[in-house]
């Protein structure tokens, strides 16, 4: 039974992730791996290979994801934001724990990418 509800969540998670477009999917993917770390907007746009301006990332995608309670934004200074995934979200918490268990290597890659500035 326990196993069943778990796989139901995983099923829903797959459905949810596949309904999102490339940008949103890669944001959640990256943030889930590095959780509980948070990143700035510039770091995030680099991490997901976003070619546009990070300002337009803020006003579009990030604003939408915040509305859906998928990510959380803390404003550190007027210009600096800390973005992280919302681990309280019923499905993204599943994603975060999956990444914790199976995503060691990927996390290292992401963290290395963050270090190099």
């Amino acid at each position: 039974m326990e196993n069943n509800t778990e796989s139901a969540s995983v099923y829903e998670l797959i459905q949810l992730m596949s309904s999102l477009n490339d940008t949103r999917r890669s944001i959640l993917n990256a943030l889930a791996h590095i959780y509980p770390r948070s990143v700035s907007g510039v770091q995030l746009s680099r991490l997901i290979g976003y070619s546009g301006k990070s300002r337009s990332l803020y006003r579009g995608v990030i604003a939408h994801l915040t509305e859906l309670e998928m990510i959380q934004i803390d404003q550190l200074t007027p210009k600096l934001y800390a973005i992280r995934i919302n681990n309280e979200h019923p499905l993204l918490s599943v994603l975060v724990s999956l990444c914790r268990i199976h995503g060691e290597q990927s996390r290292n890659l992401y963290l290395k990418a963050l270090e190099e500035e």
Partner: protein
């Protein structure tokens, strides 16, 4: 998918053309009217010789009744254009939207296209949601994003249901802003979420 993207590309080009045409038309109308009107007005003012200077004549023309009418008509043109771009989607984008919605929801749903770039969708079981299209999202490079809003729902744990399907809950409605390439999948999840919500009553 490819064809749909082409439709949106067409729609975008059309929208830009439309904007350009409207602007240049207004510019032409404005300059010709300005020229004709003020030229005639200045020449046509019957002023006793020597009593007033040229600047006063000009001033008289500028505050005349016609000028007010002229300004109002220009404003009206701008207003009409504003309304037009608020109310109507470029044709290909409407085809795209209808195509996607009908494709995923099946032939039995009724989709009503409403003025203001909106589509009212009624599912077979009577549940409704609204899809409104934004041609361009200010400050971003997104073209043709959609706002999905359901009619008010009742049931237990609506918020949980909403979040699990990628929606937010606002005033008992599921809402989300989705991009054009997400429209298909997220409409699908929206209808599923509505079914789930109605089964929890």
């Amino acid at each position: 998918m490819n064809m749909e993207d082409d439709l949106l590309k067409q729609a975008r080009a059309l929208y830009k053309d439309r904007l350009r045409i409207a602007l240049s038309a207004m510019l032409i109308v404005f300059t010709t009217t300005c020229y004709v009107f003020y030229n005639l007005a200045l020449r046509g003012t019957d002023v006793p010789d020597g009593s007033v200077g040229g600047s006063t004549q000009g001033f008289q023309a500028a505050v005349s009744f016609n000028t007010i009418g002229f300004t109002i008509s220009i404003l009206l043109m701008a207003l009409v254009f504003r309304f037009w771009s608020w109310a109507f989607l470029p044709g290909p984008a409407a085809i795209f939207t209808l195509g996607v919605l009908e494709g995923i929801l099946g032939p039995k749903v009724t989709i009503e296209q409403v003025i203001g770039k909106r589509f009212n969708v009624t599912l077979e079981n009577g549940m409704q949601f609204e899809v409104s299209c934004r041609t361009r999202n200010r400050g971003t490079d997104e073209w043709f994003s959609y706002r999905l809003v359901t009619s008010p729902l009742e049931g237990n744990g609506l918020r949980e249901v909403a979040l699990r399907h990628g929606f937010a809950l606002k005033n008992d409605r599921f809402v989300a802003t989705v991009s054009s390439d997400e429209l298909h999948q997220r409409t699908f999840l929206l209808t599923k979420a509505m079914m789930v919500a109605s089964s929890t009553i």
